[in-house]
């Protein structure tokens, strides 16, 4: 679950990390008021769960409250990465001495948290890793001992800080770690952390992603947010509620399969035969008739879909269940796009009999099925 910048900053502040003075606005009037409260030049920032909002024009500076209102109006009318901007954050524009990067994420290989710091903040950590890898300081956290204050200071020292700044910067790492352990954070970044010309450290931006699998331990956070855990469209919400994995893509063929790896491989096969998928839909293991019905229904609601490819490798999932689900959708509400089915494994024979009886053709290999659906989509176009 991704938090908005202003939500993440609220948590940061609760743990004692300073952020620039300011507040959230959902209208240009509110934006003006916030800017007046700040009483200095401000920055107006789109609140979206997406990086690169700067490049998309979602960050603007304003010298006066009226400017702030104007910028806010523009930004609130934008869509960034296909998501509407529902709020802006108005904050004091800082007098920057240095931009710093402070972050934490999970290192898959070490199976440990890794604290990351750099004296060269502002750009993305990926860009930094390519341009100046020597400026990235990493510390893998001992899974049993946790992250210690002296390790935080050592990071600040390795990042080139001296004197009182060692403890000042170190404390951001410590507080970030406290947030990580309290809220099962899987990724957090303060980028940039600003050292102002008058010597203060402030978290100027904030990214905070909580491990979805651990949300059940943090119901308090979700309640405090007064919003849905994620920005999802209607179909994504439905699929998530059903426990299916659903991703929308730019093509026109909906791939409905069981298992994430098989679904990805099916998308790839479609591409191999010259097609393009519109939908990644992993029904999950042990799907029954109702689940298959729900999956096809959700897939059909996406307006880019021009054909459906069902590819089932029966293990726990039984082919007869799948066949019954397909027949039910067709009979109850109709499927108005071409439908290609490939279905093998558990109860394969029974499933095929059901499809045959219902007059629905099927194929034996996923390659045949992928080729076929691409062919059919071309006819439709």
């Amino acid at each position: 679950m991704k938090l908005f910048e202003h939500e993440a900053k609220e948590i940061f502040r609760a743990f004692g990390m300073p952020t620039p003075p300011g507040g959230v606005a959902r209208t240009s009037e509110e934006a003006k008021k916030r800017a007046e409260e700040v009483g200095k030049p401000v920055v107006v920032k789109a609140q979206v769960l997406s990086g690169k909002r700067g490049k998309a024009g979602g960050v603007k500076f304003a010298d006066t409250p009226d400017d702030a209102a104007r910028h806010a109006e523009e930004i609130l009318a934008m869509r960034i990465n296909d998501l509407p901007v529902e709020a802006v954050l108005i904050e004091e524009k800082l007098d920057i001495q240095q931009e710093i990067y402070v972050g934490v994420t999970v290192d898959r290989n070490a199976r440990k948290y890794v604290m990351i710091g750099s004296s060269a903040g502002g750009m993305s950590i990926e860009e930094l890793a390519e341009e100046s890898p020597e400026l990235i300081i990493k510390h893998h956290v001992d899974p049993f001992l946790g992250f210690r204050a002296f390790e935080a200071r050592n990071m600040a020292i390795a990042m080139g800080f001296k004197g009182k700044n060692i403890n000042r910067l170190g404390s951001f790492f410590i507080k970030l770690w406290q947030i990580v352990t309290k809220y099962d954070v899987e990724l957090s970044e303060i980028n940039p952390l600003i050292l102002t010309k008058d010597g203060r450290f402030l978290a100027a931006d904030a990214r905070l992603n909580i491990d979805d699998n651990a949300l059940y331990r943090h119901k308090d956070i979700i309640e405090n947010l007064h919003r849905e855990p994620a920005e999802m469209n209607e179909r994504e919400l439905k699929a998530t509620a059903e426990g299916m994995a659903y991703v929308e893509l730019d093509g026109d063929i909906a791939c409905i399969c069981n298992g994430a790896g098989l679904t990805m491989a099916t998308l790839d096969a479609v591409a191999l035969y010259g097609g393009q998928a519109s939908t990644f839909l992993d029904l999950g293991g042990g799907s029954d008739k109702e689940r298959v019905e729900k999956g096809i229904e959700i897939a059909l609601q996406y307006d880019k879909v021009k054909a459906i490819l069902v590819n089932i490798m029966g293990g726990i999932t039984r082919c007869d269940d799948v066949a019954n689900g397909i027949v039910a959708v067709r009979d109850d509400q109709g499927i108005d796009v071409p439908l290609v089915i490939r279905m093998v494994g558990t109860n394969e024979k029974e499933g095929q009999d059901i499809l045959t009886k219902a007059g629905i053709p099927f194929l034996k290999t996923m390659e045949e099925a992928a080729a076929k659906v691409v062919e059919l989509v071309k006819e439709v176009k």
């Binding site: 049993f144 098989l262 679904t263 998308l267 998928a277």
Partner: protein, 289 residues
């Protein structure tokens, strides 16, 4: 003749009285797996599919001499169950459960490492050694036939797809290991290759990867330097867009890292033939063996 699981493995099922545990312990028994005990706290004294149920791993191990564990416990309690298995020296510990918090996974992995215990998963279909008729997991046993190819994979049904293709082509499997679809898992691809390297009966490997992380790149580098027998690869997610989780928690391209291209490139550089389609895997193996 196999890795991690053989005919002497005596299996304990944690969470055996749940619907998953009951269903799959039956399927495992039918396949031939030597299940000696089940554990569900509070249900000691009951039995499931004829398997005696105990209140704790300690009790079950003492009574039935179990050596390995398969865990079907729901995610909030699965980390604890794994630590219980690890504390009682069961090995391997097969963690089927999906959606375990990553912090719990990290603790489990390192607690196991400290004791030299192999954790398979989480979010894995499990491990199967067809020659011993032992499967510790949820895979359909009949698609795996006995043979000399070691198979490791981050996904379930895709593995069955490839294994079924191999079986049709009469290419058998020594042991197949589901490494798990989560970003943090116990047994890594590199470690799996190391294990297969030590198994004299395994004559070739199949490495089924997918987007996200760099486990495949690391395995390729290891294979390049350390493994001399044929290896065939497959990578799922070549057309996946960056930044989207493709079903598996671990299947995500972050920025420019974790792409299929990078993995295929690394595999090719290590002399691994990478199949374009799942059905190509068996074909290439037949050419190589």
């Amino acid at each position: 003749m196999a890795v991690l699981v053989d005919k002497d493995t005596r299996v304990l099922i944690q969470g055996i009285t749940g619907s998953q545990g009951t269903f799959h312990s039956n399927a495992m028994l039918e396949y031939g797996t030597k299940i000696v005990a089940g554990v569900t706290p509070g249900k000691g004294g009951e039995s499931v599919n004829g398997i005696p149920v105990y209140d704790s791993v300690k009790n079950a191990k003492e009574a039935e001499d179990a050596t390995a564990s398969v865990i079907f416990v729901p995610a909030p309690f699965a980390g604890d169950a794994a630590l219980e298995a690890i504390t009682n020296d069961l090995n391997p510990v097969v963690l089927i459960t999906e959606h375990i918090p990553v912090r719990d996974e990290m603790i489990v992995v390192h607690a196991a490492k400290a004791k030299g215990i192999t954790v398979i998963g989480p979010n894995t279909p499990g491990i199967i050694t067809p020659g011993a008729k032992q499967k510790l997991g949820i895979m359909p046993g009949h698609v795996f036939s006995e043979g000399v190819v070691g198979l490791m994979s981050r996904s379930g049904t895709l593995t069955y797809e490839i294994a079924a293709g191999m079986t049709n082509a009469e290419v058998g499997i020594s042991t197949a290991i589901g490494l798990g679809g989560d970003p943090c898992v116990g047994l890594t691809a590199v470690e799996a290759v190391e294990l297969f390297k030590q198994d004299p009966e395994t004559k070739a490997l199949v490495l089924v990867g997918e987007i996200g992380g760099d486990a495949e790149e690391r395995a390729a580098a290891y294979i390049k330097n350390e493994y001399d027998l044929p290896v065939v690869g497959f990578i799922a997610g070549r057309t996946a867009p960056p930044g989207k989780r493709m079903g598996h928690a671990g299947a995500i391209i972050s920025g420019s890292s974790g792409t299929a291209d990078a993995k295929i490139k690394a595999m090719n550089a290590a002399g691994i033939q990478v199949a374009e389609k799942p059905s190509d895997v068996a074909r290439i193996l037949n050419e190589l063996l």
